[in-house]
């Protein structure tokens, strides 16, 4: 690699593992949110749709931010 990071590779490995754990937790949260929303929608309760969609979007933005941070570490 020709770049020089502010963190050594070993440190970035640890950071990547930590980010991986957080991303997995967020995705499990999204999975729960998705199944709960599906259950509500199939039961005709649509009041939850907007909050659930926004919450899921926030989770996605968080995940994108974490990946962005990981790439940023390599610069």
């Amino acid at each position: 690699m020709s770049y020089r990071s502010r963190f050594a590779l070993k440190q970035r490995m640890t950071i990547a593992a930590g980010i991986l754990c957080i991303v997995v937790i967020i995705i499990i949260l999204q999975l729960w949110l998705f199944t709960a929303t599906m259950n509500a929608v199939l039961g005709g309760d649509v009041s939850i749709l907007w909050p659930a969609a926004l919450a899921s979007l926030v989770c996605l933005v968080l995940n994108v931010g974490l990946l962005w941070y990981l790439y940023d570490l390599e610069r």
């Binding site: 690699m1 770049y3 020089r4 990071s5 050594a8 590779l9 070993k10 970035r12 490995m13 990547a16 593992a17 980010i19 991986l20 991303v23 997995v24 967020i26 995705i27 999204q30 999975l31 949110l33 998705f34 929303t37 599906m38 259950n39 509500a40 929608v41 199939l42 039961g43 005709g44 309760d45 649509v46 749709l49 907007w50 659930a52 969609a53 899921s56 979007l57 989770c59 996605l60 995940n63 994108v64 974490l66 990946l67 990981l70 790439y71």
Partner: protein
């Protein structure tokens, strides 16, 4: 291969020194820690697709809802003649036309109930057991209350969608559909 920096940290997987490695590995060295790091990063990137898919699914529900909101309310539809339905008898019908099957049951002289026939667990068709006051799902032993459509036992957690009924002039009409979570 032996010239190691913090960013080029080549360690063979067997941990042996470079001179003990086979020729092919000396000719084509792999930076294993770097490889593992890239794998973790790419795995996170892949997980992002999953995250995006869940978000897309949530917004798909929203789009469906907005689409349904634009459609007209269900019309009133004749589904049976009162005289054709014996007490304890049942009849399948579609409401609205083209929809999944609904189940009309005559509980007693004056009481009719109608529900979506699909079990709320895994959409197996439910079977009325009027004498027991229940609707049975044979697939996973789900049981619903005949009068309310609420689950009594088994895996279903949601009540059956109820078809609103109206009896007039010796005929039974379906007038609407009520989906419920509790």
């Amino acid at each position: 291969m032996t010239n190691q920096t913090s960013e080029q940290w080549t360690v063979p997987p067997d941990g042996q020194p470079p001179e003990n490695q086979p020729h092919w590995r000396q000719d084509f060295p792999i930076d294993w820690p770097q490889d593992q790091y890239v794998f973790r990063r790419e795995f996170i990137k892949f997980l992002l697709l999953t995250s995006g898919a869940f978000t897309a699914g949530q917004f798909w529900f929203l789009v469906q809802r907005l689409w349904q909101r634009g459609q007209a309310a269900l019309p009133s539809q004749e589904i049976a003649q009162v005289n054709d339905m014996p007490i304890g008898g049942s009849k399948l019908f579609q409401y609205p036309q083209g929809s999944p099957a609904r189940l009309l049951v005559r509980v007693n002289e004056a009481t009719f109930v109608a529900y979506e026939q699909q079990c709320t667990h895994l959409t197996c068709p439910v079977i009325p057991a009027v004498d027991e006051g229940e609707l049975h799902c044979p697939c996973h032993e789900g049981v619903f209350d005949l009068l309310s459509g609420h689950p009594i036992s088994g895996p279903p957690r949601r009540p059956l969608a109820r078809v609103k009924l109206e009896v007039r002039d010796g005929k039974v009409y379906a007038t609407g559909l009520e989906e419920r979570t509790i």
